[in-house]
């Protein structure tokens, strides 16, 4: 019996085009938009209306745009930290957990130093002196630093287990996300619950002295966005112009060369994880000190996971990451609009995020290799 099938085969291209590797996220975006349009048609909606809800309305006017930038802030901060890990070949997928621990630590600090009227008043009874020492101008920095420390400590567990027990960092960091979620739940349902909160699972509102002030009156966009903007050149410098960043890069790209040069793999592991944990923790702290001003079980809407997509859409480059954070944030807001205005399910955002990543990986594969179709010859025996 003769049976001829057409098989695709991937051959590496000699020299992948540099222009295409920048164009790849844009092509992926275009393909995602086409897929989205097809999906809208299938759901019986006007595709133009659907696309404009996702890609135009989030930028129409200052208010929606400020919301886009507000959500881009934690995405960019988490993703910048993660880019350091991924460049060092350390697969931290637990930014979500580190974000939550940052939020918890910052929230705890805000409640503690934020004055005697808080829920931790009894706990902080003897801390008047500390609150006095930590004068009003110092309170916000303390809250943010607590967040950094919380996130870094959570990432340190992953680093320690990898370092000492050679545990797989992907599994450990991922599972610690669920531990962090349970911990947050325990705190807001239990010891930190607002006694005057009608039994809702939430802490009291923090004292105003610990709030991250808004950037513009009438919007929720806060100074954290400026911090994220400043972090971009800082990370660019660390990645491309610093000796430490070079060591991380080499340990990721060529571990044998790093050993040959004498760059410590352990140091790379700890540096990358502590910095990325700290960045995620900072993002968490700014989320609770900025727009939320209290802890609830829903502090994060998956920022730490979305940030993974942001890193790759942003090509592991700080500037790309900033742009990708804004794009993915638009999709988050667009997803909310799609629910309220088109009556579409909220899961749509996840579908678009996932297909965006898939399209990007597909584009990358085609940039690095070409497809050859050939007839498989039947095995003659």
């Amino acid at each position: 019996m003769m049976r001829v099938t057409l098989l695709p085969r991937f051959e590496p291209r000699g020299r992948p085009s540099a222009a295409m590797s920048i164009a790849s996220p844009l092509i992926a975006l275009l393909l995602t938009a086409l897929l989205a349009a097809a999906l809208f048609v299938a759901l019986g909606k006007d595709p133009w209306r659907g696309l404009s809800v996702f890609f135009i309305e989030p930028l129409s006017g200052w208010r929606p745009a400020s919301e886009v930038l507000l959500k881009a802030t934690p995405l960019a901060l988490c993703a910048l930290g993660l880019s350091l890990c991924y460049r060092s070949n350390i697969w931290n997928v637990g930014a979500e957990g580190q974000f939550l621990l940052g939020a918890i630590a910052a929230g705890g600090m805000a409640l503690w130093i934020g004055g005697p009227q808080g829920a931790l008043g009894s706990l902080a009874a003897g801390d008047g002196m500390f609150a006095a020492l930590a004068g009003r101008p110092l309170q916000l920095p303390l809250v943010l630093l607590a967040g950094v420390a919380g996130g870094a400590a959570w990432a340190a567990i992953t680093a320690l287990l990898r370092d000492r027990c050679n545990a797989n960092e992907i599994l450990v960091s991922l599972m610690l996300v669920y531990v962090a979620q349970q911990l947050l739940g325990y705190l807001v349902f239990g010891p930190w619950k607002d006694p005057a909160g009608f039994n809702f699972p939430q802490t009291p509102t923090f004292a105003a002295s610990t709030w991250l002030p808004p950037l513009m009156a009438g919007t929720r966009l806060h100074w954290g966005f400026v911090l994220a903007l400043l972090a971009v050149p800082l990370f660019w410098f660390v990645l491309f112009r610093s000796w430490r960043g070079f060591q991380l890069d080499v340990s990721g790209q060529a571990p044998a060369a790093a050993r040959y040069a004498g760059f410590s793999a352990r140091r790379a592991l700890w540096t990358a994880l502590l910095i990325s944990g700290g960045m995620a923790g900072l993002a968490g702290a700014m989320e609770v000190a900025g727009p939320l001003r209290q802890l609830t079980p829903h502090v994060s809407t998956g920022y730490g996971f979305t940030a993974i997509i942001v890193v790759f859409v942003g090509r592991l480059h700080p500037v790309g990451i900033l742009l990708a954070a804004i794009l993915l944030s638009m999709m988050l807001i667009g997803g909310e609009y799609a629910q309220s205005r088109l009556g579409l399910p909220g899961a749509l955002t996840g579908v678009f995020q996932g297909s965006m990543l898939f399209m990007l990986l597909a584009c990358d594969t085609l940039i690095h290799s070409r497809v050859r179709w050939r007839h498989a010859r039947p095995v003659s025996s």
Partner: protein
């Protein structure tokens, strides 16, 4: 002997016939109108420097690259070699210079993958052992490839090619990593294969081997054929003339009186690199300033562990003696590569891409692996300084690269080796440890690298060269030690080191009495 243009008696049509083969790459004509005839049962050499177009030509014959112009005839019939599978079906097998083995699979599994279906893994393993025994290519079929040295991997490649019962076998620089007896064994194998009717294309730049083995020889230079000769009738000088146009200047050695002991290892034992790696047992050596000590041996006998222990990539553990390795007066057993480099010990590893250099990074950034010129105050990188250093290395060592920013992987093997060796020599090391300094490097580059190593010795550095190329060790070194099964022989002055004697020692058979003497003599000096 037959006339160069005529086929051998008894086989009127050549088995393989190339006419006017031309292949362009962007910016370079790799092959330019090449004619080549290989008769049945003939051992035919293709001689040329790196970059002369040998590899492209072999890829065309093996079907992985298509020519832009020209015809390929097989047994007189024109054929279109569209893929390696097609070449394989005709009976063309190739042993590449760069191996194509799966690191995580075992030897037998790797070979099994390339065979037609229907054979069990166990029977493949038995055939590998039988093949290894009869052709002097012993390798453990159960060992994973990542645990093998370069030389052992090459044996696997040769065995894999032979198992396909080829009618034309292409070997690309096959002897670079074999011991003298193994080379003789390989030549015996090849002659037997040829006598059985298999044609052999032997790609090499080693003139002596070609003269000893091959019936005819096609010489390439810059993509063109510069001559087709009977190598037995040629002198090395005349072959080299055809290959590079000029004869490389002979190496000059001046006598330098050895000075103080610069690097000493005393009774060092260490686990192998992996479970299958060879451990070191009670290894002792000494290198003085102004001398070159050579470590001869077949690959896989503990060279990897020894080099890692010397470079600091592996350190002596807490239970070991940190003074087992001394650099001048410092016990360095527990110091890492950077600390040892600060004390003056530099190292050139065997693997260029991925270890000696980061493939995707430019030459300028690759200077940072072992050099501090590009690191400024506060850990800021200084791009200008890196670029200047890379440019200096490019000029001083004749590295052919587009510029300091060229990615390491864009350089040919010889040029990258010149860059890496140059980077370490330029650092003016007090002790330089070099593994396989000229493996797979063309004649011109090899001559330059060897001359630079000798010049460094004359400037008073201590050098330790680990190589599987005995000729190289005999031209470079003052003394030799042989490594076999993780043990190190006593030291032998180069005047007493005949290939026969070294070959015997490579199988671990050195006189124990001498060893005891050497150990007794070495201990007080090492302390």
């Amino acid at each position: 002997m037959s006339e160069p243009t005529a086929a051998r008696p008894g086989s009127p049509t050549p088995r393989l016939q190339l006419e006017g083969i031309t292949r362009h790459y962007p910016g370079v004509k790799a092959n330019d109108g090449i004619d080549l005839h290989v008769a049945a049962g003939e051992i035919h050499a293709v001689l040329g420097e790196n970059g002369a177009g040998k590899s492209t030509l072999m890829k065309i014959i093996h079907g992985s690259v298509r020519p832009d112009a020209g015809t390929v005839r097989w047994d007189g019939e024109p054929v279109q070699l569209a893929s390696p599978a097609m070449a394989q079906a005709l009976g063309i097998s190739m042993v590449y210079q760069h191996f194509s083995l799966f690191e995580t699979l075992s030897v037998a599994e790797n070979v099994w993958l390339g065979l037609p279906r229907g054979e069990t893994l166990a029977s493949v393993a038995r055939r590998i052992e039988a093949m290894g025994a009869s052709y002097d290519l012993a390798v453990d079929p159960g060992s994973p490839v990542h645990a093998l040295s370069v030389g052992e991997r090459q044996r696997v490649e040769i065995i894999r090619a032979l198992l396909g019962a080829p009618r034309l076998l292409i070997l690309d620089e096959p002897t670079s990593v074999l011991a003298p007896q193994a080379i003789d064994g390989l030549f015996a194998t090849l002659r037997r294969l040829a006598a059985e009717g298999c044609s052999i294309l032997y790609v090499s730049h080693k003139l002596d081997e070609i003269r000893a083995l091959c019936d005819r020889c096609t010489v390439l230079r810059a993509g063109r054929v510069t001559g087709e000769v009977v190598p037995a009738r040629e002198t090395p000088a005349s072959l080299s003339q055809l290959m590079i146009g000029t004869e490389p200047p002979p190496l000059t050695r001046t006598n330098v009186a050895p000075g103080q002991v610069a690097l000493s290892v005393h009774a060092l034992s260490m686990q192998g690199e992996t479970v299958h790696g060879t451990p070191l047992e009670q290894v002792s050596l000494q290198v003085r300033t102004g001398e070159i000590l050579g470590i001869a041996g077949v690959s896989g006998n503990g060279q990897q562990a020894l080099l890692a222990a010397l470079s600091g990539e592996r350190t002596v553990d807490r239970t070991g003696d940190r003074a087992a390795i001394r650099l001048f007066d410092h016990p360095v057993g527990r110091l890492g590569p950077r600390e040892r480099r600060r004390l003056g010990l530099h190292f050139v590893p065997e693997e260029r891409l991925g270890r000696g250099a980061v493939p995707a990074l430019g030459l300028d950034r690759n200077t940072l692996l072992t050099r501090d010129e590009g690191v400024g105050r506060g850990g800021c990188l200084r791009p200008d300084a890196m670029r200047a250093l890379a440019q200096r290395l490019i000029e001083r060592f004749g590295v052919r690269a587009e510029g300091p920013a060229s990615a390491a992987r864009s350089l040919s093997g010889g040029n990258l080796q010149k860059f890496i060796v140059g980077r370490e020599i330029d650092a003016a090391p007090r002790v330089l440890v070099v593994a396989q300094p000229t493996w797979g490097v063309d004649v011109g580059a090899a001559a330059l690298i060897r001359a630079e190593l000798l010049a460094l010795r004359e400037r008073g550095a201590a050098l330790l060269v680990v190589s599987e190329d005995l000729d190289e060790l005999l031209t470079l070194c003052d003394r030799l030690q042989v490594i076999a099964r993780g043990r190190l022989s006593p030291s032998l002055p180069i005047a007493d080191a005949s290939p026969a004697r070294i070959g015997e020692w490579m199988s671990g058979l050195w006189p124990q009495a001498v060893m005891a003497d050497a150990a007794a003599g070495a201990v007080p000096a090492a302390r």
